[in-house]
């Protein structure tokens, strides 16, 4: 498939990139690894006349335990010994992203901002045209929940949940300078599903920052998918915890992706467990409550009620594992 013509821009600094974005907005896309954007462009999904390639912006690279550049390839993150041993829970998510070939080009920032997915969106132009375009691309209605004027496409990144439970932050550069946004709150939970995050037009993801406390947490990531390779998450559960010396819960965080339009934290459910001793009944209660609160719709390969049920199972196993009380079966 050939792509429609566009202009390709290759800035070399963050400042230059942001200025360029300001000039071209909204008629541009940032091009990171291209493994998500280019398939969508081939399907003629929301193509724009300008691509700003981030390849040459050196500030977007670099891996340390405090900061990972947004243009870091997932394969390079995987190969970084220091990162791997500091954040094994994040690595569990990294190696579950797509395939080694996709990770050879795909980047950390790209995965955080990966396009949401839906049966009725990730289709060729003629397919979508024959059914009638949906409101995520070219149309004005939702085929999944027709009575609503909201997009229900599913958040399909693996890294956001695993970074959220570590309380990582993204550094963002824009026309008004730089700011930090917690991964947990960067996604738009209350929006229309089309605008998926709280980044302003033209803002650029520069890096992910890890607080020192992130290295004191035990974390894990569980992914549900049909094939153990390539597939996007039908469900992704990340959990992180720290116990005090006497075995009570000092910190517990849980984030669920692959079920709604954004990765969802459950602080209101995990918070009350802090200060208590971890027990299996309480973990099961937590899992059942999370299962009740996720709202997947039938817009990915597996049925929505199955994904909902598996949310309970995965939460039980993931939280049980990070609290060290078993039920941590794969």
């Amino acid at each position: 498939m050939h792509l429609d013509p566009f202009e390709l821009h290759r800035p070399t600094s963050v400042e230059e990139t942001v200025a360029l974005a300001g000039r071209l907005a909204p008629k541009f896309d940032y091009l990171a690894g291209g493994t998500d954007l280019l398939p969508n462009y081939k399907m003629r999904l929301n193509t724009r006349p300008n691509l700003i390639a981030l390849e040459d912006v050196s500030e977007l690279r670099g891996v340390s335990l405090d900061r990972v550049g947004a243009m870091t390839r997932l394969a390079d993150l995987e190969a970084h010994g220091g990162f791997r041993s500091a954040y094994p829970g994040v690595l569990e998510a990294v190696v579950e992203v797509a395939t080694p070939l996709v990770r050879a080009s795909g980047t950390l920032g790209g995965n955080l901002l990966v396009e949401t997915r839906c049966f009725f969106f990730n289709q060729s132009f003629p397919w979508r045209e024959s059914l009638g375009f949906c409101l995520k691309a070219d149309g004005d209605r939702c085929h999944v929940v027709p009575q609503k004027e909201k997009c229900y496409a599913t958040f399909s990144g693996d890294l956001a949940p695993s970074l959220s439970v570590l309380d990582a932050e993204v550094e963002v550069a824009g026309p008004d300078g730089r700011r930090r946004v917690p991964v947990t709150t960067m996604y738009d939970a209350a929006g229309d599903g089309i605008q998926r995050h709280h980044l302003k037009p033209g803002e650029l993801l520069v890096a992910v920052h890890f607080p020192p406390a992130a290295r004191t947490l035990r974390a894990t990531y569980r992914k549900l998918r049909v094939r153990p390779s390539f597939d996007f998450p039908e469900l992704g559960v990340a959990a992180a915890a720290r116990l005090t010396a006497d075995g009570t819960i000092d910190h517990l965080a849980l984030s669920v992706g692959g079920t709604e339009t954004f990765p969802k934290r459950f602080d209101e459910l995990t918070g009350p467990l802090v200060g208590s001793r971890p027990t299996l009944p309480r973990v099961r209660e937590l899992a059942a409550e999370v299962q009740k609160r996720v709202r997947p719709v039938h817009n990915t390969f597996l049925a929505a009620d199955y994904r909902k049920k598996m949310t309970g199972v995965f939460v039980r196993r993931a939280v049980g594992q990070v609290l060290g009380i078993g039920e941590g079966r794969p």
Partner: protein, 161 residues
């Protein structure tokens, strides 16, 4: 400084060790450039969306999906295709092993597997079965069931001193 690229301005690329200059619009995908402009048709177009790995080439020695790579982003990098890893006469050790182990049936996915396998064996000549399986998990084969492919890659790894 940014200078937007449009039209068929020519670019310089190094493909299989040969520097060349050729016209290339910004939206040209590396796979299309290889197959349609350079007639290097050993690199196959499978899904064209990054799922199957048939289009795998090496970019500075790293296996990447040429169907998801803009040709212009390969400027300044070395591109190696299946033609580039095949000796002028005969076959590479891995290609030979694929023949000897019956690791190829219809053959469409084979160039992709050879590229991924070549890079793997270069970096990890003693790759375990599990490492091989993980490395080729982005290459799809609909004929062999993978067993023979894994055996062929493993056989070459063992031979390497």
């Amino acid at each position: 400084m940014d200078s937007p690229m449009s039209g068929r301005a020519s670019i310089r690329l190094t493909i299989n060790g040969t520097a060349m200059e050729l016209g290339c619009p910004p939206e040209r995908i590396l796979l299309d450039l290889l197959r349609e402009d350079l007639n290097l048709t050993g690199t196959k177009r499978g899904c064209d969306l990054g799922t199957c790995g048939c289009c795998t080439v090496l970019l500075d020695g790293r296996p990447v999906l040429s169907c998801l790579t803009l040709a212009r982003l390969a400027i300044g990098h070395d591109v190696t295709t299946i033609e580039g890893v095949t000796p002028a006469t005969g076959l590479s050790p891995l290609q030979k092993a694929f023949v000897e182990h019956g690791a190829t049936q219809c053959g469409f996915c084979t160039p992709g597997f050879i590229m991924t396998g070549t890079a793997l064996l270069r970096d990890h000549p003693d790759a375990s079965r599990e490492e091989i399986e993980r490395a080729i998990s982005g290459n799809l084969c609909r004929c062999t069931g993978y067993l023979k492919i894994v055996e062929a890659i493993q056989a070459v790894g063992k031979e390497t001193p």
